[in-house]
């Protein structure tokens, strides 16, 4: 945090000055470790085992926050009889289809509950039903909902091309839960004594019992006494009087089990009662100025603004079917129809009417994953011929950088908008493949447009920071020359396309011609008014009056709103994101600085900061509480609860939506109002986290016989330039004997586009380097300051050697494990240059959110520079031969045939 979010770290130091204990768990020693009370180095890729060990410790020693757990989590809910855990099935959950690397999650649901298939994979549910009814037959245990899925599904959904077939069934709804859990329905049985063997609580206990301090030591390389110290510190600090916070970043997400990393932390924090309370929570520190905003108002394939799923060809024939399938029956997601219709009204204005389903049919349909990585495959195959790269540098910053460049070399046209000539703009001229002879400039048919982009000082607009806070930046100066904002680019591109298509009678062109696209412009460049766009995002009623809350949204077309969770950011016609009352003139919550979604609320689920009876858990941690005299929720923040719903409120039996939430259902976006310790629906790779090794690991999984996440997304990206290495005790794994991790440093920014051209920053960190321990340096003959080259099955890169204790060796399964650390900021252009770490990484993804695994893999390292010219790919090939790598290496799972683990 001190490296990547330095100014945010001032608050950690402030807390420390007031007596907080700071623990830093990270494979490398950084500026954060230097200031922490305790640094715990662990093997990259083993955090689930580490956190799972703490969960086990909390459960075994009864250190959980009992009253919180019973009232606010699903600990007491009873799970159906058909569920089988990793303990029963040698490291996998019930429902695994090995060949398809997917789970049928029907056996995971609550007793009496039904998988309302909003949960991510409804299309899979549908297609599975059909496959089974066509083939081997069903097991007769289908729920009504599953049957209705079957009725709606009349194809098996498999892709046209074999290589992407499995991607097609992965319906890609992970981010749809960015604002709440999956839909479930039914009457659930509970046992508040937590004794029933099928309560979530008892299942959790059995599942994590395996994660003992000894196993943690063996898996993570963390000595038992250090691990136990962490458990004790955390438990002592998680009480009614005290709270503990977790802070994470992409070190937790860039894994084939990335979502389950976060799930493990969620379970732990819910057990400790640290969610919804001040000083608690799980804080994602996001890496770019508006990466949170670009998820909320997504430039992501699978969601629409406000985490509304994109419609899917198989399951979304019309608005009504879509809404009834995707909404939750209880909680705020029950109002999905209002959010979606208001969005359609924002997009298509008067053209969107009740008679035409508000233009729902205008939305293009998904047929599986169309993530950035499938797009690379589609470009290589010639299906996708045009590409916009807007303030991003995939030739350096995306996994398997060579594949990214080869994909761009297959295009007809490429538009790059940036400040400087980044690697993604110039690869056709001076990229690594030109040097090796794999590509020849003259033969590359891609037409490239480079358009200079405006900086934040040259345009108005809002960023959403890592705590959901929208902050407006005002234009200071006019952009010079051809420099324009992306707002300008999009607006005028749209305007031109609409002019060119004007008068077309082709049905295909209706959506773009009917689009509301008449933003006011200003100045000599006709820059669109950013505030007018913000006003559309906020929404208005039928009279054009700005809305102030998403509770005003309706599904009858009387309201328009471009992003329901941002509704209120332009309340009263005032740009709330531009509010700047100095922090020193406000209370500590600082509500009058910017605007946080939703409803300017600073801590989500803050109803949980009070006990079930509405009184604060403790005076010290009072945040939001029930005032019995005023009969409403009051406190330091905007209550995340119906303002006048009493703590003892019991909803009528037939209530739906928000009205169905009781006075203690603190987790109002969840379909049962509870924090989920166990996930009955919504995840593609298991209802509970389980430690699997990274796709490529020098270590055989010490926890289960199953080596890798059996549901990882890999089949859709099998390609000669994306070969995988053998792992653990598979033959050939010793060719890549060291663990490898990638990271950032304080002095540079992501793929370098905003830092490698800066003299200040370039001077501070002038060269690509690798960090190795003194023992590894001795073992491989590496000298400090000299050169080394690092090899994986994809590529070889060179870097300056930094011999340092910052990357300590660990003892894993009784042996010394060396790790190699690589910052990933460098590329060939700019003031300071170097090979990109992402040449080494591969495309292999988490199945929930399709994020790639770049934080843990395996490599070899040797002294000296890498070969030049054709010798470079030849060296990589010789490694692949030595390791016996084939097209299927690391792709096919055999299941529990080997005797690893302790199952």
């Amino acid at each position: 945090m001190a490296e990547c979010h330095p100014v945010g770290f001032q608050w950690v130091m402030e807390a420390k000055a007031r007596g907080a204990t700071v623990i830093h768990v990270d494979p490398r020693f950084t500026r954060t470790s230097a200031l922490a009370d305790l640094h715990v180095p662990l093997r990259a890729g083993t955090d689930i085992a580490f956190l799972g060990g703490i969960i086990n410790h909390v459960l075994q020693n009864e250190k959980y926050f009992h009253d919180y757990v019973v009232a606010y989590t699903n600990a007491a809910t009873i799970v159906g009889e058909d569920f089988r855990d990793t303990e029963d099935l040698a490291g996998v959950f019930s429902g695994l289809d090995r060949e398809d690397k997917s789970y049928d999650f029907e056996t995971w649901h609550y007793e009496g509950g039904m998988v309302q298939a909003a949960s991510g994979e409804r299309d899979q549910v549908g297609s599975e039903r059909v496959k089974e009814s066509d083939g081997a037959g069903s097991d007769g245990a289908r729920s009504d909902q599953a049957r209705s899925d079957q009725a709606r599904s009349d194809g098996d959904g498999s892709g046209g091309r074999k290589s992407r077939a499995s991607g097609v069934k992965r319906a890609a709804r992970g981010e749809a839960h960015g604002s709440g859990g999956a839909g479930i329905s039914g009457e659930f049985e509970t046992d508040e004594t937590l004794q029933h063997p099928r309560t979530v609580f008892q299942i959790l206990k059995r599942h994590f019992a395996r994660y003992t301090p000894e196993l943690v030591a063996e898996t993570c390389g963390v000595p038992e006494e250090t691990f136990l110290r962490v458990c004790e510190l955390l438990e002592e600090n998680s009480t009614p009087e005290r709270t503990s916070a977790f802070v994470y970043s992409v070190g937790w997400t860039h894994h084939t089990v990335g979502v389950q990393y976060i799930r493990t932390a969620s379970i732990l924090q819910a057990l400790l009662g640290n969610i919804g309370r001040p000083g608690g929570g799980i804080l994602a520190l996001r890496g770019h100025a508006s990466i949170q905003g670009s998820t909320d108002i997504p430039t992501l394939f699978n969601i629409l603004p406000g985490y509304i799923p994109m419609p899917h060809a198989e399951s979304s024939p019309d608005l009504t079917t879509f809404v009834s399938a995707e909404k939750a029956e209880k909680g705020y997601w029950a109002e999905l129809g209002s959010y979606l219709v208001s969005l359609l009204k924002s997009y298509w204005g008067p053209a969107a009417t009740p008679d035409n389903d508000f233009c729902f049919d205008y939305l293009p349909r998904l047929t599986g994953s169309h993530s950035s990585f499938e797009t690379v495959m589609a470009q290589l195959e010639g299906e996708c011929t045009g590409f916009f790269v807007l303030g991003e540098n995939p030739a350096v910053g995306s996994a398997n950088a060579k594949m990214q460049r080869l994909a761009m070399a297959s295009l007809d046209w490429l538009v790059v908008r940036d400040f400087s000539l980044i690697e993604s703009a110039t690869w056709w001229k001076d990229g690594p493949e030109i040097e090796t002879g794999e590509l020849r400039t003259e033969d590359i048919g891609t037409e490239v447009f480079f358009l200079p982009a405006a900086a934040h000082t040259e345009k108005d607009g809002s960023f959403t920071n890592t705590q959901r806070l929208l902050q407006w930046h005002h234009q200071a100066v006019e952009p010079a020359g051809d420099v324009r904002s992306d707002l300008w680019f999009l607006f005028h591109l749209g305007r031109r396309i609409r002019e060119k298509l004007a008068g077309s009678t082709d049905e295909r062109d209706r959506p773009v011609l009917d689009l509301t696209w008449d933003y006011p412009t200003k100045g000599s460049t006709d820059e669109p008014e950013a505030e007018a766009v913000l006003a559309e995002i906020n929404g208005w009623d039928g009279h054009g009056t700005p809305l102030s809350s998403y509770q005003q949204l309706r599904d009858d077309g009387s309201t328009a709103c471009g992003c329901w969770i941002y509704c209120g950011t332009y309340a009263d016609g005032v740009n709330q994101a531009a509010r700047r009352k100095p922090g020193t003139e406000q209370d500590w919550v600082a509500h009058e600085w910017g605007w946080a979604w939703p409803a300017n609320r600073r801590i989500l689920y803050n109803r949980a900061s009070a006990a079930p009876d509405g009184a604060p858990w403790s005076e010290r941690k009072a945040y939001v509480w029930w005032d019995p005299d005023e009969k409403k929720w009051v406190g330091h923040d905007v209550p995340d609860f119906s303002p006048t719903k009493a703590p003892d409120h019991v909803p009528p039996k037939d209530a739906t939506g928000v009205a169905a939430l009781s006075g203690t259902d603190a987790f109002i976006m969840q379909a049962d109002g509870k924090a989920w310790l166990y996930v009955p629906a919504g995840l593609t790779d298991g209802p509970l986290p389980a430690h699997y090794e990274p796709q490529e690991s020098p270590v055989a999984n010490p926890v289960y016989p199953e080596q890798r996440n059996p549901a990882r997304q890999i089949d859709s990206v099998v390609h000669p330039e994306n070969r995988f290495q053998p792992s653990g005790d598979e033959p050939g794994a010793q060719v890549y004997p060291y663990a490898l991790t990638t990271y950032r440093i304080a002095e540079h920014h992501t793929a370098g586009g905003m830092s490698r051209w800066s003299p200040y920053l370039s001077e501070l960190a002038p060269a690509m380097f690798c960090e190795v321990s003194p023992e590894l340096a001795r073992e491989r003959g590496l000298t400090h300051g000299g050169w080394a080259h690092v090899v994986t099955a994809r590529n070889v890169i060179e870097a300056r050697v930094m011999v340092t204790d910052r990357i300590p060796d660990l003892r894993v399964r009784g042996e010394v494990l060396h790790q190699v650390g690589l910052p990933y900021h460098w590329g060939a252009n700019g003031l300071v240059t170097g090979d990109a770490a992402n040449e080494l990484t591969s495309l292999v993804m988490d199945p929930n959110v399709h994020i790639m695994e770049t934080k843990a893999l395996a490599c070899d390292i040797r002294p000296g520079r890498r070969p030049r010219g054709p010798d470079r790919p030849a060296l990589v090939e010789s490694y692949r031969r030595r390791a016996g790598i084939t097209e299927r290496t690391g792709v096919d799972d055999t299941g529990a045939t080997r005797t690893g683990g302790t199952a």
Binding site: V7, S294, T299, N465, Q475
Partner: protein, 188 residues
Amino acid sequence: MGIKTWIESWPVYRQLTDDDPLGRGSAAKSRTSSTLRPRITDADHVTKSICPFCAVGCGQNVYVKEGKVVQIEGDPDSPVSRGRLCPRGSSSLQLTTGDAREYTVRYRRPGGTDWEDLDLDTAMDMIADRVIASRAEGWQWEHEGKRVRRTMGFASLGGATLDNEENYLIKKLFTALGAIQIENQARI
């Protein structure tokens, strides 16, 4: 210079008579540095802004003189950052005004070995044509017998460094054109 001024200009004299007995503060100040003025004092105006690097969202004051940015500093009013900027945020002046910025459109034709000039208006027109053509080429009304109404012909990557309003227009325009391969760094 009068004799008194001359004597008073001696650091050792100031060290003995001023409030700086160790000679490490005001006594050691040279005449040049005492005439130095911060860049921000004669700025025409200050614009409130936000750091464009990471997602902490530190407040920035952008100092403008004669239509040019002359300095960018931390905004002490911000309850997020309390006036601080890290090395990256502190380099914002170089980022926005440094000589690494490109100011003209660059164009590389298919098979071309170098950049060429192209005016912005022509570039925009050509890009609009390319979008229409790729969209048509990759158009699908149906996929596996299901209505999809989409194009696989073009894709977009980027947004995490852009404003919310810009992301909104990207998603709105490209969705209306039928594109689905719209992605950004949040995945990566």
